[in-house]
Amino acid sequence: MHAKRLVGRGLFYLLVAVIILYTLFPFYWAIVSSLRSGQGLFSTALIPSDPVWDNYVAVFREQPFAANILNSVIVATAVVALSLMLSLTAAYALGRVRFRGRGTLLMVVLAVSMFPQVAVLSGLFELIRWLGLYNSLTGLILSYLIFTLPFTVWVLTTFMRELPKELEEAALVDGASPWVTLTRVFLPLMWPALVTTGLLAFIAAWNEFLFALTFTLSNEMRTVPVAIALITGASQYELPWGRVMAASVIVTVPLIIMVLIFQRRIVAGLTAGAVKG
């Protein structure tokens, strides 16, 4: 009995090790590759000998990668701020006021968030050009609302519902209007939810590719994913893999650190957003 249990434990930890290796190895390999240059890149040794930083220098020298990072930061920050502002009031209405059509509206919001982006691509393209926002960050910010806004509305509504009803009633007795209740009673309590939701929306906006690819034209206006996808080398047929890996590592490391710091919050936010069956 005891031996059997030990074997079970062993197998369990073997499984854990395999899963961890599977999830972490590709990123590890990207780091290793980014530190190699020239012919060294083609080595398949698992541990890099004498790491070099050439690729990292090249990423910034050969293309406007700093501008790309800045673009991504601006777009993601702006769209998150905008989504949170809009969805905060919407979530109050959807989460705390009974009115006809509330359920339908929530379903529509959910449906929009699950929509294939390509389904609005031509209409949005038309709209963005008509507004004169083609090849501009504003155009991207506007278009990103299509996926960040439904998400933040949905998650904040779930959080908003959890706030105690008596708190709102106490505010009512104190003479607070709905707006005052929202801004001075609920908003201070929603900070953790806002951070979580904002973080998830930020990651989604940071990672977006299709709109960024379609609605921008010049290297200077591109966001990070597009820049990384379109890195080209000396020859059209051979990608500068070292540089690609270096660029990938640069933008992924902060993201991973952020995710690990906010681990618990993210898990809570992801599952709060998911509907219950």
Binding site: F12, I19, T23, L24, P26, F27, W29, L41, T44, L86, T89, Y92, A93, F99, G103, L105, M107, L110, V112, M114, F115, P116, V118, A119, V120, L121, S122, G123, F125, E126, L127, L145, I146, P150, P178, W206, N207, F209, L210, L213, T214, P225, V226, I228, A229, L239, M245, S248, V251, L255, I256, M258, V259, Q263, V267, L270, A274, V275, K276, G277
Partner: protein, 317 residues
């Protein structure tokens, strides 16, 4: 002074059909709610509603990108061309195969990871952190990372498989349509299994301990416990997670675009639609392809909802 019980009040009124009276206060709240919703609704109509309507409309025209001449109505012509285009059919099969394979594998694997995470053993914190890493990496970057690992000459996948004696010679994974599709599935599985695992884990954690203790007292075999108790209990949550993943997989664009470019053999419907729209400048045709993709997704969602007997509990209250 003393309370009487006026049963008569209602009786005299002849028991009319009562409509719930909405008081002034509640009306005020509802008015506020309308104001509060307005900005979001307008924003969604602008960035989602209107473009969707336009896309559907453009699908019935011969509009061209950058074309200054007025687009004219061509009826179902675009849809007719689509259905007779072998490339569209290829893209449809690629999309369906990709979605089915990745969702099935992710569900099974996600379940395994969730069960491991749910076991109260040391090391689960580390593991949870580890599975979040692929989730945090942008899809485009995942595609590039794996693209490099799949490299026909210098890729670590080939080195590993040849070194282990599984392959006798390196393969060009992305050059062959069959292996390319599976290579893409592998990347998607790697990237999105964590999401699946976390959703399943959340469902597992809502299950009451007592059930498992009772099963243990009754001496039920753990496998049987899983099939007979765990699975039925988390089925609703699992179905919702599967539907979400399926919807996500059906609209997949980044992976295919970055890993295989415009290679028709591995293009998904999203890639196909964008290619026609942007690269070939055929807005009408591309829009029709987009519309058809939406219809396909709606159809599949409908099937999944019916088969899974899932009620999306958007708003029970």
């Amino acid at each position: 002074m003393t309370a009487t019980v006026p049963n008569s009040v209602a009786a005299e009124a002849g028991e009319p059909v009562r409509v719930e009276i909405v008081g002034r206060m509640e009306q005020r709240r509802r008015r506020a709610a309308v104001f509060f919703l307005m900005p979001t609704v307008i924003a969604l109509l602008l960035v989602a509603g209107w473009p969707l309507v336009r896309t559907v409309y453009l699908g019935f025209t011969d509009a061209r990108l950058g074309g200054s001449e007025q687009a004219s109505f061509v009826g179902l012509a675009n849809f007719g061309f689509l259905l007779s285009d072998p490339a569209w059919w290829t893209a449809t099969w690629v999309t369906l195969k990709f979605a089915t394979a990745s969702v099935v594998i992710e569900t099974v694997l996600g379940m395994v990871i969730a069960l491991v995470l749910n076991a109260h053993l040391p090391g689960r914190g580390l593991m949870r952190a580890a599975v979040l890493v692929p989730w945090a990496i942008p899809t485009v970057i995942s595609a590039q990372m794996w693209g490099w690992m799949y490299h026909d000459l210098y890729g670590v996948v080939n080195t590993l498989l040849v070194g282990l004696g599984i392959l006798d010679a390196p393969r060009a994974w992305m050059a062959n349509p069959d292996t390319a599709l599976w290579a893409m599935v592998a990347v998607d599985v790697w990237k999105t299994t964590p999401f699946m695992a976390l959703l399943i884990l959340a469902a597992l954690q809502t299950l009451p301990h007592e059930i498992y203790e009772a099963a243990r007292v009754d001496g039920v075999h753990p496998l049987k416990v899983f099939w007979r108790i765990t699975l039925p209990l988390i089925r609703p949550a699992l179905m919702v997670a599967i539907i979400f993943r399926a919807l996500d997989a059906l609209r997949m664009f980044d992976l295919a675009y970055v890993m295989a470019g415009a290679n028709a053999a591995t293009a998904t419907l999203s890639v196909y639609a964008r290619q026609n729209l942007v690269d070939f400048q055929d807005v009408g045709f591309g829009s029709a392809a987009s519309t058809l993709l939406v219809l396909l997704i709606l159809l599949i969602t409908g099937i999944l909802l019916t088969v899974g007997r899932v009620r999306l509990a958007a708003d029970a209250r």
